[in-house]
């Protein structure tokens, strides 16, 4: 089994031809585009009679042509469907999307989008999400793409469904459709005063329609349900404990599964004595390649079985496997690939000339540590085999990717694998793979009954993937008038997201350099944009300081991007920048940037105690603009949440490791933000109803670390160039 998994992971992540995959998405190995197996007749059988509309993805045909493997062509529905919607005979609206809910609140915002476009009350809309048999294929819930891509698709589906209902009414009343109005789940004819509810119009029908990619949809200024606060969908289930996450499922007759982990990354199994474990009652032991796992009726029994296993492991002896945090950054720099990586690479003008003409020149190196996502719900899955078919409930951001992973691992067609994703206890980019799903499925096959695997916190901190560490080197030049003349920026290992500078520079060279993996790495909220923003915005501050100009003024002087200027100016106005210090140890910092179509600027105030080295973030103010806002209340939660999560990576989070072992795999030794760490936080949301909505889950995290670092410099004169900034407080320079 593991051999097959290794093979999968060797595949290039850039298998989707239309998407240039960011290099730091190391964990992504998905390849194929899938066809849904639901036929029209089956669909109505499942949903009941009514009206259904299917949306065709714009780029689906390209994907289809490049998809490897056998193609199943359902005869009655197009394959390239990205979303669909059903209106039942009772007027209930069910929309289907392959996206998943992991706390970012898209179940609510997408429901608002449907209600808005269909002209129905929000309470009548139900969203079916992340179910590989019920929802259309979706690449995954990542990259801040749900709002900008799934939002418009659901709008088109909803608009088409509305038109279909209007058309039914027009036919029944024998009037032109143009004169009819759809509102509040009804079609009405102002001329005759006739009205019919959507329920009445859908009654007795089994109508399906697909639609082209581009239908006119309601522009943001005319939204009625979207654009306003809406309470979290199914919120009551969360405050009563009734919502069942994947880790809460308890299939009848199910066993609990546990996996024997190697002592270090890359270790292989040399021998296993499972006699004692197998002698325990009701215990299933599986050895398959390097995989060793047990399953038993209870957690207690499964733990006892696991403890009874005696295994010998061979640890790798390569140079990469021997290093620790101490040598990490030297190693990354020395082992960078010589080959140019085009992702994020940009070269214009001449750095030499730019530097030669500069009045101020600066070289600096920045580093970022490995950090863990540490979602509160660890990886979890329940797997069941029945008649050769595998069903898995799991918390993942990529239900269809996990289906592919399972099908490949178990040599079964994808049609024999069903993945369902209950709303999940967070992910932050950390749940793109199907680790727990594969483990549960392997054990379930051996046990002949459902098996649940829930990773322990230590497993989560050790065997999940990390945000890649990195080294960033910046070389810059600035003219006497404060204009940038040269900007050279190299990122080693951490990634290319957000690597390009938004500032105007005639001579520029940015490049990402890949390095072979030391620890398992992958996506993390914002990807490398957080690291690249940290380096860039710290460096900009250093330049401003060297030239003795105000750091905000310096940024604005070099900035033509109106949207980025707007968020910086919004923050400046809110906090009264430039600010006078009123007490000892006080410092202010600012930083900004944009990524994935949204714009952020953050102001930080810190209090530094030079005696003890204690650093306290007193206040964060973040201005954020992501086009038209779909749900202001939900957005505020995401922006404030990203600021607080960003506080951890900025101040103290770091994975400590040596020789393939994680040294701090517990919340007691890996410090994440707690209530005592909370600064005063303000989010300024800029609603641009003239712009299409962009995603918002990631970008608000990006300016937190540099704003804090710059504030620490302002307070203390100490320039910090490594994340985390102050894991043990501020050391004397």
């Amino acid at each position: 089994m593991n051999r097959i998994r290794e093979k999968i992971s060797e595949k290039s992540p850039a298998q989707f031809p239309h998407v240039m995959m960011e290099p730091e998405r190391y964990e992504l190995s998905a390849g194929s585009i899938h066809q849904f197996a639901l036929h029209r007749r089956a669909f109505f059988k499942l949903m009941g009679a009514g009206v259904a509309v299917f949306a065709v993805a714009k780029d689906a045909l390209t994907l289809q042509e490049t998809a490897p493997g056998p193609r199943i062509q359902p005869p009655e529905l197009p394959n390239e469907i990205s979303a669909w919607l059903h209106i039942g005979e009772d007027g209930s609206v069910t929309a289907f999307t392959g996206k998943v809910e992991v706390g970012q609140n898209v179940r609510t915002s997408l429901s608002q989008t449907v209600a808005d476009e269909l002209r129905v009350p929000l309470s009548t809309v139900t969203l079916v999400m992340g179910d590989t048999e019920l929802t259309p294929f979706d690449m995954g819930t990542f990259g801040s793409r749900t709002t900008p891509t799934m939002g418009p698709q659901l709008r088109r589906v909803s608009a088409a469904a509305r038109d279909l209902l209007v058309g039914i009414a027009a036919k029944e009343w024998n009037v032109p459709a143009e004169g009819l109005k759809a509102a509040n789940a009804k079609v009405s004819d102002p001329a005759s005063g006739r009205t019919a509810s959507y329920a009445q119009l859908a009654h007795g029908k089994a109508l399906a329609q697909s639609l082209p990619g581009e239908d006119p949809v309601t522009p943001p200024p005319e939204w009625t349900v979207a654009g306003k606060d809406a309470p979290k969908a199914e919120g009551r289930a969360f405050v009563t404990g009734k919502h069942q996450y994947a880790s809460d499922l308890r299939p009848s007759g199910g066993y609990i599964g546990k996996v024997l982990r190697p002592p270090a990354f890359g270790a292989t199994l040399s021998s296993l004595d499972d006699t004692a474990a197998k002698a325990l009652p009701e215990t299933v032991v599986v050895r398959d390649g390097n995989f060793v796992g047990v399953a038993a009726p209870s957690e207690h029994q499964a733990q006892r079985s696991l403890a009874a296993l005696r295994a010998q492991w061979n640890e790798p002896s390569t140079a990469a496997s021997q290093i620790s945090n101490r040598e990490l950054f030297t190693y990354l720099k020395q082992n960078a690939s010589e080959k140019h990586d085009e992702r994020g690479r940009k070269q214009a003008g001449s750095i030499e000339e730019g530097l030669a003409s500069a009045a101020h020149r600066l070289n600096a190196t920045y580093t970022v540590a490995y950090i863990a996502h540490a979602p509160l719900e660890p990886r979890a899955a329940v797997a069941e085999w029945k008649d050769g078919k595998l069903t898995v409930w799991t918390g993942t951001q990529r239900p269809f990717g996990v289906r592919t992973e399972l099908a490949a691992t178990f040599h079964v067609p994808e049609a024999s694998v069903h993945v369902l994703v209950p709303d999940t206890g967070a992910a932050y980019g950390g749940k793109h793979t199907g680790d727990a799903a594969v483990e549960a499925a392997r054990l379930a096959r051996a046990a002949g009954r459902p098996v649940k695997v829930v990773w322990s916190r230590e497993e989560e901190f050790t065997w999940a993937y990390f945000r890649p560490a990195g080294v960033i080197e910046v070389k810059s030049g600035m003219a006497a008038d404060g204009k940038l003349t040269a900007w050279e920026f190299h990122n080693y290992h951490s990634g290319s997201s957000g690597i390009e500078t938004p500032y105007s520079v005639p001579n520029v060279h940015t490049e990402y350099h890949s390095v072979p993996l030391i620890l398992r790495c992958g996506s993390y909220r914002g990807l490398a944009a957080t690291a690249n923003h940290f380096a860039r915005e710290t460096h900009m501050d250093e330049l401003a300081s060297a030239a003795n100009v105000d750091p905000l003024e310096f940024r604005l002087k070099n900035l033509s991007d109106a949207r980025l200027r707007a968020v910086l100016e919004a923050v400046a106005k809110s906090v009264g920048w430039p600010r006078q210090k009123t007490k000892e140890g006080q410092g202010f910092g600012i930083a900004g940037g944009h990524e994935k179509g949204s714009y952020v600027a953050t102001f930080a105030e810190v209090a530094v105690d030079r005696g003890s080295g204690a650093v306290r973030v007193v206040r964060l103010v973040t201005a954020f603009e992501c086009g038209a806002i779909v749900n202001p209340n939900g957005l505020r939660n995401q922006v404030v949440g990203a600021n607080i999560q960003g506080l951890g990576g900025a101040l103290f989070e770091a994975i400590e490791f040596a020789k393939g072992r994680i040294k701090n795999p517990h919340f007691a030794s890996y410090r994440v933000p707690r209530f005592h760490d909370l600064p005063e936080i303000e989010a300024i949301l800029i609603d641009r109803k003239d712009l299409a909505p962009a995603g918002a889950g990631e970008t608000p995290i990006m300016a937190v670390a540099p704003a804090i670092g710059n504030a620490i410099f302002d307070a203390s004169g100490v320039r910090l160039r490594s994340l985390p900034l102050v894991p043990i407080g501020l050391q004397r320079a």
């Binding site: 992991v102 706390g103 970012q104 609140n105 309470p231 979290k232 919120g235 009551r236 969360f238 405050v239 009563t240 404990g241 009734k242 919502h243 069942q244 996450y245 880790s247 809460d248 308890r250 609990i256 209870s298 957690e299 207690h300 996502h373 540490a374 979602p375 509160l376 719900e377 660890p378 709303d423 999940t424 206890g425 967070a426 932050y428 829930v454 322990s456 916190r457 209340n633 939900g634 939660n637 995401q638 404030v640 949440g641 990203a642 600021n643 607080i644 999560q645 517990h666 919340f667 007691a668 994440v672 933000p673 707690r674 209530f675 005592h676 909370l678 936080i681």
Partner: protein, 159 residues
């Protein structure tokens, strides 16, 4: 076979067959199906598994089931009364003091314990009471607000 352990959870009597050293959390979740109480770390570090044991907020992952025998236990499932949410639950819902909501049960139970002691807590007292509860989504400011709303509701109810 060990002697069954008698538990009183949300006013209902249960008899557990689990070994006495089994963490209360596992008995609640796996044996009794009360899955509203969450596993977050099993180390008493995250507060996801918080329940009320004889009225005090405790980490159920750190309590052997035998130590909970006979004492009143309240879990998230026991707060709602006759379809009416507890003021703390209502406040969390109204303030939307959650995102993924995996920490919510523990946050609510810790807050209920606080309000039983102190119906007018300061921000500092709330922060202190919730210091052992992690929220990875960063919803902390709203949680503090929700506890304040709830405190107000509790005070008004008492009048």
């Amino acid at each position: 076979m060990a002697k069954p352990i008698e538990l009183v959870i949300n006013g209902t009597h249960y008899s557990s067959q689990a070994p006495p050293e089994t963490p209360l959390l596992l008995v609640l979740r796996d044996e009794l199906g009360l899955t509203g109480t969450k596993y977050g770390c099993g180390e008493g570090q995250c507060g996801s598994c918080t329940v009320l044991l004889a009225g005090a907020a405790r980490r159920s992952c750190q309590i052997p089931v035998s130590a909970a025998a006979g004492k009143p236990i309240t879990t998230i499932e026991g707060l709602e009364q006759n379809g009416r949410l507890h003021p703390v639950q209502q406040a969390f819902l109204d303030a939307e003091a959650f995102q993924c909501a995996y920490c919510t049960s523990g946050m609510i139970l810790s807050s209920v314990a606080l309000l039983r002691q102190n119906t007018n807590p300061t921000d500092a007292e709330i922060t202190q009471s919730l210091q052992g509860n992690l929220c990875r989504c960063g919803t902390h400011p709203r949680i503090v607000e929700a506890v304040k709303y709830a405190a107000k509701a509790v005070r008004e109810r008492a009048q």
